[in-house]
Symmetry: C2
Subunit: 239 residues, 2 copies
DNA sequence: GCACAATTGGCACCAAGTGCCATGCGCGGC
DNA sequence: GCCGCGCATGGCACTTGGTGCCAATTGTGC
């Protein structure tokens, strides 16, 4: 019966428990609401103890957010896989597209993704954790981008800003997609988002990268980029 | 001694307890680390009970994040106060500048802001809460922007993307500023960030706003305004 | 069959929050 | 001056997330 000789029985058992836990958790959480389900209930539904639950998931949020955990590495991997001569807007668009693909995937666990996303976006605690992950992705994306463009992430603001823009697009698409019950096409939403961001991405990159030998565009422009009139009046602080 | 006759004694007392709590919490948390300080300790240091702590702050994170809570409304207020004919890049830049002003303020509790920001950025739990706030700010900024430009936030992606870009700039500046021990000028970092984002902001806005009656700019441009063909495919794609 | 590691469950324990109630204090009315 | 009202407080019990520890079980290699 074992089609995977390199996978021991213990490992399969572990995987099975993990799946059972995820399954039970996701269903109950989506049904009753995140904070109306205790971990004891989830564990009991999966047939294990609460103590065992925490041997598989670091927290209650983890069991939900884990579904999207590998999106980050996926985005970065896709970016790294794009040809270097590709302009940032295109490369980043494909990177985000790769992440959205698992949402658009209508075959496997299609609506599962939709349920998870909607649960996350409407539960503050989950949303917070998710944003934390995104922050990590942004760091990774920024370093990847910097290395790709030969920039120094310690001095150039561009990599971080570009990564942030890409993830802003990702976030916007996710939100729209989940708000529309998955009716809208994630890929099309992504394209539209990058149609807004893209020109900025490339123009900015050209202006901010001092080296990067072959810059075909004249990049003329009255930049007005330096300082501007000092400071708008500050507003009152708290109270 | 009471310079505020319209403020009752009870209110001042409450305010005093709140300040005492914030003070104690901030100092201890920054000193020992966020999760190495219990609420009982903070409360005890402020001379109240743990139960009272929770009558002033919703959570342990709240007492720290509260310091930055009003930044969001400040940003939105500043955006709303900018003249309508101002292009989004300029208006948003000033909005972010207004928020950064409290950080640049070297007079009052200058380093206090730096301490808080650094504590938040390097503590996962606080970072998560902070990002949650930012997500809320982005929603607010997006609706404000949509209303300012006469766009429908339900169909146009631009407001959300623009708000996200502005907050990306904010976040990037904050991070750089705190990483450099406050040595760099927040206003200058903000200007540099918007020098990257700005052109995109305006170009995209012109392209995405179909109506907007009084557009002084000729807005010439091959508009290509609506949907784009399935995929821009400006370069080569292979999949 | 036997030692060995891994998995598990139960238990005690800590910290974050919350609900409830009794107490104390300021403040206005009488 | 006394009384009652409102409010802030403190203490307590309780729930829940999360962890450390240990004993029992189970699978694995020899």
């Amino acid at each position: 019966m074992s089609a995977r000789p390199d996978v021991t029985l213990a490992q399969r058992k572990r995987r099975l428990v993990s799946d059972e836990l995820s399954e039970a958790a996701l269903q109950m959480l989506a049904l009753k609401g995140f904070d109306l389900v205790t971990i004891d209930e989830i564990a009991a539904a999966a047939g294990v103890s609460k103590r065992t639950f925490f041997r598989y998931f670091a927290s209650k949020e983890d069991v939900v957010v884990r579904f999207l955990a590998d999106l980050g590495s996926g985005i970065r991997a896709e970016l790294a896989a794009r040809p270097v001569q590709e302009p940032p807007s295109v490369a980043l668009r494909h990177a985000v597209l790769a992440a959205m693909a698992v949402c658009a995937d209508r075959s496997d666990h299609a609506d599962r993704a939709l349920v998870v996303v909607r649960l996350i976006l409407r539960t503050p605690a989950l949303r917070a954790r998710f944003l934390e992950h995104q922050a990590q992705w942004r760091d990774d994306l920024a370093t990847e981008l910097a290395q790709r463009l030969g920039l120094d992430p310690g001095t150039d603001l561009y990599p971080r800003l570009a990564a942030g823009m890409a993830l802003t697009a990702f976030d916007t698409v996710l939100q729209r997609w989940s708000a529309g019950d998955g009716a809208e096409d994630p890929a099309e939403l992504t394209d539209r988002s990058f149609a807004v961001l893209g020109p900025a991405l490339d123009a900015a990159e050209r202006r901010d990268a001092p080296e990067q030998g072959a810059a075909p565009s004249p990049a003329a422009d009255p930049p007005r980029s330096g300082k501007l009139p000092a400071r708008p009046r500050s507003f009152r602080e708290h109270e």
